[in-house]
Symmetry: C2
DNA sequence: AGGTGTGAACACTTTCACAGCA
DNA sequence: TGCTGTGAAAGTGTTCACACCT
């Protein structure tokens, strides 16, 4: 009872979480190559941040390194998994069976990381009943029931902006408190729910801005 | 020569650009309803920020409002269009004709905003020659030629991570300096090129983190 | 020597508060 | 009076620098 522990009494910057997620990915690559230990300097080089940043980010959660040596790759991966909640699998419902929904549904990257689709919903009667892999499309009217039945942890929301408010309420009632939103609209987020927005048009507009303004060059991206 | 001008001698926070993009969208909705003037307070309410934030953001580019009144909706839209580079259309090449590429290609939201696909590229010979709308898929080996021929302004990059480095070099040589990257890897961005990353798995991991950590609730999203 | 962990300095963003114009 | 535009204050995130451990 005095090994390294994952403590968390501070508030964690949004940006730090994104970086941790990225470190995790890089560490997995290192593990595959058989690297046993890695220094913050080397991780920095590979992730495009600074060594200090990495040490700070990790120190938000505990002391995982050995002075003079660096971080043991396998241990650190395991710690990051625990921190990020990747040491379990997540049950995800896809709401919106359109083009984007379809692409997301078929994208293998999600399942690889432990995010599994357990239901597909749409409000279009013509789509309801259709087969998507092992699943068949159900009606959004039944959202609450489906969430309960499938023990849904998260929703991927790929519907038109106009459909969002009603669905938000339904999800809230159903006890869903994590949503990945592709609708180009600002959600009214109830207490206790976490929402992340992915808005590809806005990303293109940021590029358009950069090209138009001449300045503001170089990396400006984020991890949407 | 003393009307409102769009000045830009400062450096613009990344976050401000994203918000401007969002204000623009809201203003268009207001215009449709026939609103002539809007105050920073009202815009704040609709966009989920604060009035001060909005005034600061806009003041980075000029003085578009009238004291005691607010901002004239139509004028402000026009100004934002100019600032964001949305007063013209952009020629976009899609590199990577897989599932995600396909969904992006068929997504109407891009064209509505003036982003037009003018070429589709892939490295898979089986896909080359296939018809995508009016376009036919071309080989990534010809990237430089295609960029020149089609006067490509931006690339949407939807390829596996392993293909990225070579393509980055080709794009750089071709003079492309805006890339929307869907590959889950950190690009090495040459001077003068702007890259924005969209990484949906990382977004899910952020949700996973939020659910796991109990704390850190409420909106945490961004505009991907 | 080598590299972590961390308080303190710094830089950047957001919020406040108010002068000034319609 | 109402609301913008903006310096100054507060807050947040990043970088520095060094004590400390191996």
């Amino acid at each position: 009872m005095c090994g390294v522990r994952t403590v968390l009494p501070k508030k964690i910057p949004e940006s730090a979480v994104r970086r941790l997620s990225f470190y995790h990915r890089i560490l997995e690559e290192l593990e595959e190559v058989g690297t046993g230990t890695v220094s913050s300097g080397e991780l920095a080089e590979r992730s495009g941040t600074t060594a200090a940043q990495i040490r700070k980010d990790l120190s938000l959660f505990g002391s995982f390194g050995k002075r003079g040596l660096g971080y043991p790759v396998q241990d650190l991966i395991q710690h990051l998994r625990t921190i990020l909640g990747l040491d379990r699998s997540w049950r995800v419902a896809l709401v919106g069976a359109g083009r984007i929904g379809s692409a997301l549904f078929e994208y293998r990257g999600f399942a690889e990381r432990g995010f599994h689709f357990v239901a597909v919903l749409d409000s279009d009667d013509a789509k309801v009943g259709g087969g998507w892999g092992d699943l068949s499309v159900e009606h959004t009217d039944d959202l609450e029931r489906i969430v309960a039945r499938e023990r849904v942890d998260m929703v991927v929301l790929a519907v038109p902006a106009s459909a969002v408010p009603d669905l938000m309420e339904a999800m809230h009632n159903a006890g869903v408190n994590a949503v990945l939103n592709f609708a180009p609209t600002r959600l009214d987020v109830p207490e206790g729910m976490t929402v992340r927005d992915v808005n590809m048009v806005m990303e293109l507009e940021a590029l358009s801005f950069a090209l138009s303004q001449g300045g503001n060059r170089g990396r400006s991206g984020e991890g949407g």
